[in-house]
């Protein structure tokens, strides 16, 4: 298991212990931890609803694919440290990384 840190839109910080050997991606981890990430396209880098910014550990992550860069290009609030969580494979290189959620949905009804 590795630890990663996630900040929600309000800035609340939480350390998550996640398995690094199950072939999961960060979007799946966020959903499993009940973050309100839509992930409309299910992980195809086509909707931008799992947009995160990497606050720490960017250099350890694998580079962007073309599909991911294409999508990030269309987002109004993308920054140089922006990634799509669905394109980030959770492995030992992610240990210690800090992620800021950007696309978390605000709707919490009922």
């Amino acid at each position: 298991m590795i630890n990663i840190t996630v900040l929600n839109k309000l800035g609340d910080e939480k350390v998550l212990e996640v398995p690094e050997d199950m072939g999961l991606n960060l979007m799946e981890i966020l959903k499993a931890n009940e973050y309100n990430v839509l992930a409309t396209c299910g992980g195809m880098a086509m909707c931008g609803t799992c947009h995160v910014q990497v606050l720490e550990g960017m250099d350890n992550l694998a580079g962007h694919s073309d599909a991911e860069l294409d999508m990030l290009d269309t987002l109004p609030d993308a920054a140089p440290n922006s990634r799509l969580a669905c394109q980030l494979r959770v492995d030992e290189n992610m240990a210690g990384a800090v992620f800021q959620l950007c696309a978390e949905e605000d709707i919490e009804i009922g």
Binding site: N36, T40, M44, M46, D73, L75, I109, G110
Partner: protein
């Protein structure tokens, strides 16, 4: 006023297949979708992606599935209101409903089936101060009628294909066109990107790269945008219109206001027939939730079949439903 048996909100795969299941039971359907075309996220987000878990179709492209569904439901002559968002649902004395859309279309129906997927696709809004204040007063998120911009000063924002395409198109319509893009390169279609750079070199458009619009202003109507460059200096530019083009993102929208039980942006249903807490309103596909819910197209198809069985009781309260296989009975077109 459009009159139908079932008003289906959402023309994605599950909404479309509901027409088939309803048609087998002699119920007519009218579909409403906020997008200008049928197919929902399959057509809007991933038309060329192959899907592998449709029973009987080992590999099928998303758009192909939508096209096939349209073929499959054609015998039941569904009608459509596309590019319109359902805003209101009014219950009538006889328990029927009148559904009202953003274009003021009224649909009278006996049953409502919400197959709204993740909600309505709405334009993604950039974080610009006072943006919402000027919506419809100089800020437009799409180009519906290019003539609106004839001989006007316009500023577009964005770096995707639609930003490039509209910049090229409007350069021949507007009196001045400025494209503001966060990056310095465009990853859209190479042809379009090249054209935009040529237009900028020829002085036909004003290309502002590595910059963001941070604030807009005007007196009741937009007349200026404030653009922040890479060096954080702010430039103010006069304009009649701002067109932010950052794609579409789904929002639950007015669905939240119809008195339905909502759990985490999804509609709670009874798995007996996917009925909601409001009699006569059903919710199927990605928009609903229940214990064990899986957001799969094939699950939505199943839900539509069971929904149709219960909808029959609302549409034909005095008739008994006898279940018939298509292999025995065929498909009897309307």
């Amino acid at each position: 006023m459009i009159t139908t048996d079932i008003c289906i909100i959402g023309a994605g795969p599950v909404g479309l297949f509901s027409v088939f299941e309803a048609g087998l039971l002699k119920m007519r359907c009218h579909l409403v979708d906020a997008l200008p075309q049928v197919g929902g996220q399959l057509s809007e987000i991933y038309p060329q992606k192959p899907i592998y878990d449709i029973p009987g179709a080992p590999e099928i492209k998303a758009q192909e599935l939508v096209d096939n569904l349209m073929k499959q439901i054609a015998p039941f002559a569904p009608t459509f209101s596309l590019g319109e968002r359902v805003e209101t649902i009014e219950r009538q004395e006889d328990k029927s409903f009148i559904v009202g859309t953003s274009d003021n279309t009224k649909i009278h129906c006996k049953v409502i089936a919400i197959a709204g997927g993740l909600g309505c696709f709405e334009p993604r809004k950039p974080a610009i101060e006072q943006l919402e204040l000027f919506e419809g007063k100089g800020v437009n998120y799409m180009v519906k009628d290019p003539e609106l911009f004839r001989d006007k000063k316009i500023v577009l924002a964005g770096g995707g294909d639609s930003a490039l395409d509209w910049t090229i198109f409007l350069s021949n319509v507007a009196s001045s066109v400025t494209l503001v893009h966060r990056g310095e390169t465009f990853r859209g279609a190479p042809d379009s990107a090249e054209k935009v750079f040529h237009l900028a070199e020829a002085g036909k458009i004003n290309l502002v790269l590595k910059s963001n619009i941070v604030k807009i202003g005007g007196n009741g109507k937009l007349n200026e945008v404030h653009i922040e460059g890479a060096d954080k200096t702010i430039t103010t530019m006069e304009t009649d219109y701002l067109i932010p083009l950052f794609g579409l993102s789904p929002k639950l929208g007015p669905i939240a206001d119809w008195g339905l039980n909502i759990d985490k942006a999804a509609i709670s249903v009874n798995t007996f027939d996917y009925s909601t807490n409001v009699e006569g309103i059903f919710a199927i596909g990605d928009i609903n939730t229940y214990p064990g819910k899986l957001k799969l197209i094939l699950c939505g198809f199943h839900e539509s079949a069971l929904m149709a069985q219960s909808a029959f009781k609302h549409v034909y309260p005095n008739q008994r439903l006898s279940f018939k296989y298509t292999t025995v009975n065929g498909v009897n077109a309307f």
